[in-house]
Amino acid sequence: MEANERLGGALRKLVFGLLLVLLSASSACAIVPQNRRQYLADPSMPAQDDGLERRATRKFHTSREGAAGADGKPAGGGCSCGN
């Protein structure tokens, strides 16, 4: 019960933090002009990640660990494993 409350408290703080970031982003100013983004398109940056590699890695982790999610995909289902 105590562990449950502790987890709930931690989760509330994290969600609150995320909402704070979202709110601050809604008033974001243009700090990086379009003509200065060549490094953001580098193959080593997240936007250029290989979707198939990401998929294979995710499947490996979700079928061997109890945690998943926060990557735009459901944390469960679609797999014959019960994790």
Binding site: I31, Q38, D50, R64, E65, G66, A70, K73
Partner: protein
């Protein structure tokens, strides 16, 4: 017409000046603390088309990728019957996973992506019912995933996805919708998405018998946010909520009973609510042609399982077209509150129980290396290796080859 003659002394002086300038530039790079090899390497700037997007040329294939991944794992888990009745059984398995991705641009505002994944699971022990069905020693699975993007305006994007997956004792279908809005001249992007997944599977028992079919459903919602912090820094954060309902256990898993003479069938609660929050940052260092990436995820669910995941990556250009990546991942989870490796004899048959090593308390470490060769244009060839190690008795090696990219 005669070319203008430059006096020899002047040419020598100019060459010396250029040499000195190059030497100073190299010294500055070395003094800045970058790797020596990076002094000769540089990232090729992305083409205008890659940054600004292609013009409208009708329907065409604009991306093609192939990947072959092989997982070999060895270890022991109490849910497996490939051992003694009371002890953990083998979880040894070899999984071969070829995949193909095709990107289709329908117009300047509509894009589709088709992924075809195939899984071939070969268990070393034919008694390992937790890995395979009793019908064969090899289990094959195939699926199709279609993701479509619709750019409603320059700032608003709608995405949809439909997935179908089929394997010997199991079938699954899902669909989802998402919306994202770019703000502040594309410096920030907010996204929201939802997905529903419907699974249907044979109700296989630990002794191999089949009792009809069972279902489970997963409903999922996501919030995401991306922010450019500088010309070389990207930050993103996301939250995911998943609600599952139905037969959630792996029906052929079993739990050793106290005394070591028998096993009971695994049983999960009928529903599960899962929360996950993640934050990631990526920093490119142009002078040394290095990219550093870090990520953290916190997870909790109604089974009382909570987990922390930390990931670090170092990407380094060794040569202009050769990129190396080193990575480290640390994962720690508490077990579910109904985990037991020796179930008391007086336990009610309706009380949830599991001995699945994936749901026990453990820590896991993973480290990996990858080499990516930028072949030409936007195509690349890569090879990677990971080693995954859990402190409750599971080790795995993953080797992956990939080829493809934008066309």
């Amino acid at each position: 017409m005669k070319a203008r003659q430059v006096p020899t002394a002047n040419r020598r002086g100019a060459a010396v000046a250029v040499g000195i300038e190059r030497g100073l530039r190299a010294a500055r790079l070395l003094a800045s603390g970058c790797f020596w090899i990076a002094a000769a390497a540089h990232a090729e700037p992305a083409s205008d088309a890659a940054i600004l997007g292609q013009s409208d040329q009708g329907v065409r294939i604009d991306e093609f990728r192939l990947r072959m991944t092989t997982f070999y794992q060895d270890g022991h888990g109490y849910q497996s019957q490939a051992g003694t009745i009371a002890g953990p059984g083998s979880e040894r398995a070899l999984i071969v996973q070829p995949m193909m991705l095709v990107g289709i641009r329908q117009s300047s505002r509509i894009h589709h992506e088709v992924v075809i994944p195939i899984d071939i699971v070969s268990a070393a022990s034919v008694n390992a019912l937790d890995v395979i069905s009793h019908a064969s020693a090899v289990n094959e699975a195939i699926g199709v995933e279609l993701t479509s993007r619709f750019d409603l305006t320059d700032d608003d994007r709608l995405t949809s996805n439909i997935t179908w997956h089929e394997e010997e004792p199991f079938g699954s279908g899902s669909f989802g919708l998402g919306y994202s809005r770019a703000m502040a001249d594309d410096n920030a992007t907010l996204g929201i998405s939802g997905q529903a997944t419907f699974d249907r599977f044979d109700y296989l028992q630990p002794n191999g018998d089949r009792y009809g079919r069972r279902n489970r459903t997963a409903l999922n919602g996501n919030l995401s946010f991306l922010q450019l912090l500088s010309p070389t820094t990207v930050f993103d954060a996301s939250y995911g909520l998943t609600f599952q309902q139905g037969t959630l256990e792996t029906s052929y898993n079993s739990v050793p009973m106290e005394g070591g003479t028998s096993r009971a069938k695994e049983l999960f609660p009928h529903s599960r609510t899962r929360h996950a929050v993640q934050a990631r940052v990526a920093q490119h260092l142009p002078e040394s042609h290095t990219t550093l990436r870090a990520a953290f995820r916190y997870y909790t669910d109604s089974f009382q399982l909570s987990a922390h995941t930390a990931e670090f990556e170092l990407h380094q250009y060794l040569f202009p077209r050769l990129l190396a990546r080193g990575s480290f991942r640390y994962y720690a989870q508490t077990g579910v509150d109904f985990f037991s490796s020796a179930l008391p004899l007086q336990t009610s048959p309706l009380q949830p129980r599991t001995a699945d090593s994936d749901l026990a308390e453990f820590h896991a470490q993973e480290y990996g290396l990858k080499l990516l060769w930028l072949v030409r244009g936007q195509s690349s060839l890569d090879i990677s290796w990971f080693h995954y190690s859990r402190d409750n008795g599971l080790d795995a090696n993953i080797i992956s080859f990939g080829y493809g990219g934008g066309l």
